[in-house]
Symmetry: C2
Subunit: 139 residues, 2 copies
């Protein structure tokens, strides 16, 4: 069976054209995608609202995760670890390339441990590195 369909079924999502297409965009992209990227790559084929709802349901199901940014643009990327409904485990570092603008998940780079004064409780650590990505460095 098509792996895209498989992922959707596995997550109890009915298989629709929009979900298939949007999920395939993530599977074929090596970086993170924003809502606008998806609109661009589907050429207005789906309603804005549908795209928002699809992204939200993918996040809810643990198929994709959000990446924090400083510029009011939520980016989404595939979860490659063991995420499931209501339980994300994306303990990797994110890189925002200042040359090409892409946002990448560095799946092999584990988020460093942060030590806070004991009055604080840590629940989750997000690390976003601004820098230059592999391909831009090779230019």
């Amino acid at each position: 069976m098509d792996s895209i369909v498989h992922i959707l079924k596995q997550n109890n999502l009915s298989v629709t054209e929009g979900r298939r297409k949007i999920l395939s965009l993530f599977l074929n992209s090596n970086g993170a995608l924003a809502h606008a990227d998806i609109e661009k790559n589907t050429d207005g084929h789906f309603d804005r609202v549908t795209v928002y709802r699809t992204l939200q349901s993918f996040v809810d199901k643990g198929i994709i995760h959000t990446i924090p940014t400083s510029d009011n643009s939520i980016k989404y990327a595939l979860c490659k670890n063991d995420c499931w409904e209501g339980h994300h485990h994306d303990h990797h570092v994110h890189l925002v390339c200042t040359r090409c603008g892409n946002t990448l998940c560095l799946d092999d780079v584990v988020t460093p441990t942060v030590k806070l004064p004991r009055e604080y409780t840590i629940q989750q650590v997000e690390v976003v590195v601004k820098g230059v990505c592999k391909s831009c460095n090779h230019l």
Copy 2:
């Protein structure tokens, strides 16, 4: 001389009522502020546009810095280190409290070093911790 006026002059900003008031909000707040927070605390006394422009000019001058979030809401906080025009140096960890919702600069917690494969270049590391802040933990 009033320290607020001093900061503005030092940064070549003319001293206006709006800038004085907004800067004082930052000086009197222990956490980060979003545009909406400022509107709320000035009670519509200043035009929305003025607030946006003031925040932008403060960022440009290195008086405040932005904090990345996962929810499309830019937060701003005072720069306490040596930031100046076009040159931010906020190497501290940010905490988003999941109880009170506040975002705090943990000025004493230096961002950990991150080691990337040598194909990448690091320019800046942003660390945002989700957890519980001091005061919420003491409740």
